[in-house]
């Protein structure tokens, strides 16, 4: 099996599996319980928070959620509600993941003025482009760190600095799911997910800088400072933290694989690379095979147990509007293949992938 769909999800690493099973056996108590066992659970959670905060390079609050979809929803709805007296405008991009995009659609229906900027209108200085769109009425800017479909990077540390210098009251949120553990993200609020970094599905986190207020979405026992009720899933948290600790700090392996695949693809006829060379994350490479519908190529690769994605795995057959935001034509979008690496992939995997792609192009392009 050659698994090249790591932007969809990753295989839980051994460290994460062990941490989850250890926690389930030894540290299973409810962190809210007053007894010693409860305190041990609380300690484990606090320790996990520190590990994740350290990797984010941030100091502040960290809330565990059911995943990045919840983190994004909590950030957007929470801020919109908490700061609605300040203004009515939310600035975001046309390339966001559906968990941001659909939440923004909903906020628009509730009366907020939502502006969606497309990277294709300012591919080289997108940060300035977003910054310049801020109005006195703006309460929130939300921009993803790395686009999940083509890997385009927005320099969020730069954008965050620019915003805070001129508009200290505007809240900046970033969906950092795809960049987490690989490139630095910055913001008042940052969403991350465990299963993209070899943790388990069903858990994510939302970082919040000190002093940022937001309204909770889930009410109940008042866990996590009343901001996210529900018993903390200690096994998942333990695995999340273990996965982050085990995640390589060096990106050179991805860079090498990326360069190798790029070079091999550029030698193939009718293949067009969609991921930007200078501001694309090395873990994701998206390309279009002219004239071959992505799903057909995907199933053809699958016959050799090579697993990739067509565009974004979340959409499963649905048409995404994201390619258009990057100026990718509908025709190219229809034939898009997304390859995404983990540290487990090898040069040999790339070799097998490209060989099979070549066969596919011969068979399907008529």
């Amino acid at each position: 099996m050659i698994y090249l769909d790591n932007a969809a999800t990753t295989r839980p690493c051994d460290e994460a599996v062990k941490a989850a099973s250890d926690a389930a056996r030894d540290t299973f108590a409810n962190a809210s319980s007053l007894h010693k066992m409860g305190i041990n659970s609380e300690k484990l959670i606090n320790n996990a928070k520190q590990v994740i905060l350290k990797r984010l390079g941030c100091e502040g609050e960290l809330l565990f959620t059911s995943g990045a979809t919840e983190s994004n929803n909590l950030a957007l709805f929470g801020i919109a509600e908490a700061y609605k007296r300040r203004g009515n405008t939310i600035i975001s991009t046309a390339a966001e993941h559906p968990s941001v995009a659909r939440a923004l659609d909903r906020l628009e229906k509730l009366g907020y003025n939502v502006i969606r900027l497309a990277p294709k209108d300012a591919p080289d200085n997108f940060e300035e482009y977003i910054f310049n769109a801020i109005t006195p009425d703006t309460i929130l800017v939300s921009c993803m760190t790395v686009n999940n479909e083509i890997g385009y990077i927005t320099d969020t540390p730069k954008l965050y600095r620019m915003i805070k210098r001129k508009y200290p009251d505007v809240i900046f949120h970033t969906d950092a799911v795809q960049g987490f553990c690989r490139i630095l993200a910055a913001g008042d609020l940052i969403s991350v997910s465990a299963h993209k970094v070899h943790g388990f599905k069903g858990i994510g986190a939302l970082y919040a800088a000190r002093g940022v207020r937001f309204a909770p979405m889930i009410y109940g026992g008042g866990q996590q400072k009343n901001l996210r009720s529900g018993t903390e899933p200690i096994e998942l948290i333990a695995a999340f933290s273990a996965a982050v600790e085990a995640y390589p700090t060096d990106n050179s392996h991805y860079d090498t694989l990326n360069k190798l695949l790029r070079d091999r693809l550029s030698a193939l006829p009718n293949v067009k690379i969609n991921s930007p060379r200078d501001r694309g994350i090395s873990g994701i490479l998206s390309f279009s095979v002219d004239g071959v519908h992505s799903e057909i190529m995907l199933h053809f690769l699958e016959e050799e147990e090579i697993y990739v994605s067509s565009g974004s795995a979340c959409s499963k057959g649905k048409v995404s509007s994201v390619p258009d935001a990057f100026g990718i034509s509908a025709k190219d979008a229809d034939s898009t293949i997304r390859v995404s690496f983990s540290h487990e992939n090898t040069a040999e995997d790339i070799d097998k992938l490209v060989n099979r792609l070549e066969q596919g192009i011969k068979r399907f392009r008529r």
Partner: protein
């Protein structure tokens, strides 16, 4: 209190000397459908099957299942009393309480097939109506459009009282008309076609054409789900899955593009012929509706039919999409059918298909390549899946 379900015959009540053949099949079908729910005793009398639970359990699931058995015109859940008007009047208000308390108007409809019962039909209606008005003073009688109709039937073995009947699935029992092979793509129309033919008593099995890698595993899963859902109406279903990729590729490489769809349909028919011959099917069924797409014009159907060796039934031929969709929702296949996976019919769809193909031209185009070896291979490599009712 004793409670029974009465399954009243639909069309088979009209049958003549061969009636008992249909009845036997119907009873067999009902038994299979109800078996997982518990033990029942079955009695046939006066165009009705009396289904009596042995032991105490909730009858609602049984009623629900019976409503999808073809051959039943109406399903009625009733209490059984001795044939004594005083007993009926005393006992039935309690049995009808839940229904009547929620209603504001009602009427009583009586039937007296046991002519030895002392009261005549109108008298039964009046007496029972009075008793119910006494028990539920908020009720009013409305003989034209009552919210609840209370049925009281005096039959040979007892008096049966119920608070309304549910329409059955109608039709004639599955298995009373032979068996047919359905071309099942996974769209909205073919499951509806299966339902319609099962209603006419046919055992319907499916044949599905798979074209990996052009179609995904999920397209097959979708068809399998549809078969599972169809068992509620059709009984046990067999699904023949035919590997179709090589045939489609040969078609693409050797025949003119505008004829792809029609020739593909013809090749499917040829494979279906072979399957029908080997396994004893007497007809083919498709979900074609005239004018819906290019392969479903009159001319295209003429060309497709010319390749079929069996009668081809197209039960939805005269229905529009809305009518088909309504049935698909009723039989719960719609949600599955609209899942967005490619099926073999959408692979290599020509940009401008011929809407008025001429048979001789099609046959000529088709003869440019010898499909027979590929057809043989496809038939040999067919996979068969089985779906059992009510599991």
């Amino acid at each position: 209190m004793k409670e029974v379900i009465m399954a009243k015959y639909g069309e088979i009540a009209l049958k003549g000397l061969n009636k008992s053949t249909f009845e036997d099949i119907l009873v067999k079908n009902i038994k299979r459908r109800l078996k997982p729910l518990g033990e029942f005793e079955y009695t046939r009398r006066q165009s009705t099957i009396y289904i009596e639970p042995i032991g105490e359990f909730d009858l609602d699931p049984a009623v629900k299942r019976l409503c999808t058995v073809f051959g039943i015109g109406a399903v009625q859940r009733c209490a059984v009393y001795e044939k004594d008007m005083d007993v009926i009047k005393a006992k039935c208000p309690e049995y009808l309480r839940d229904t009547l308390e929620a209603a504001s108007t009602f009427k009583v409809e009586a039937k007296r097939s046991d002519k030895s019962f002392p009261l005549k039909t109108p008298d039964i209606q009046v007496e029972l109506g009075d008793a119910l008005l006494d028990a539920f003073p908020h009720l009013k009688v409305d003989v034209h459009e009552p919210q609840v109709t209370v049925f009281c039937e005096i039959r040979d073995k007892g008096a049966y009282v119920s608070a309304g009947r549910t329409a059955g699935a109608g039709g004639i029992p599955v298995g009373s008309s032979g068996k047919a092979l359905l071309l099942l793509s996974g769209g909205i129309d073919s499951p509806v076609a299966a339902y319609m033919m099962a209603k006419r008593g046919l055992i319907v099995d499916g044949i599905h054409f798979q074209s990996p890698p052009y179609t995904s595993e999920r397209a097959l899963m979708k068809v399998q789900t549809l078969c599972e859902k169809l068992t509620a109406y059709c009984g046990d279903i067999k699904l023949y899955c035919v590997p179709f990729t090589e045939i489609q590729e040969a078609l693409r490489d050797n025949c003119p593009e505008e004829y792809f769809t029609v020739i593909m349909r013809r090749l499917m028919m040829k494979i279906a012929n072979r399957t029908a011959e080997s396994y004893g099917y007497g007809a083919l069924v498709t979900g074609e509706s005239i004018g819906q797409v290019a392969s479903q014009t009159l001319r295209a159907i003429q060309c497709t039919d010319a390749a079929a060796k069996f009668p081809v039934f197209r039960p939805v031929i005269g229905m529009d999409k809305k009518e088909i969709t309504d049935i698909a929702r009723k039989i719960d296949t719609f949600e599955t059918s609209v899942l967005p996976y490619e099926d073999c019919c959408t692979v290599f769809t020509p940009k401008h298909p011929k809407t008025r193909p001429v048979l001789s031209e099609i046959e000529k185009a088709e003869s440019a390549f010898d499909f027979q070896p590929l057809i043989n291979e496809a038939v040999e490599n067919m996979t068969v899946y089985r779906y059992k009712v009510g599991e």
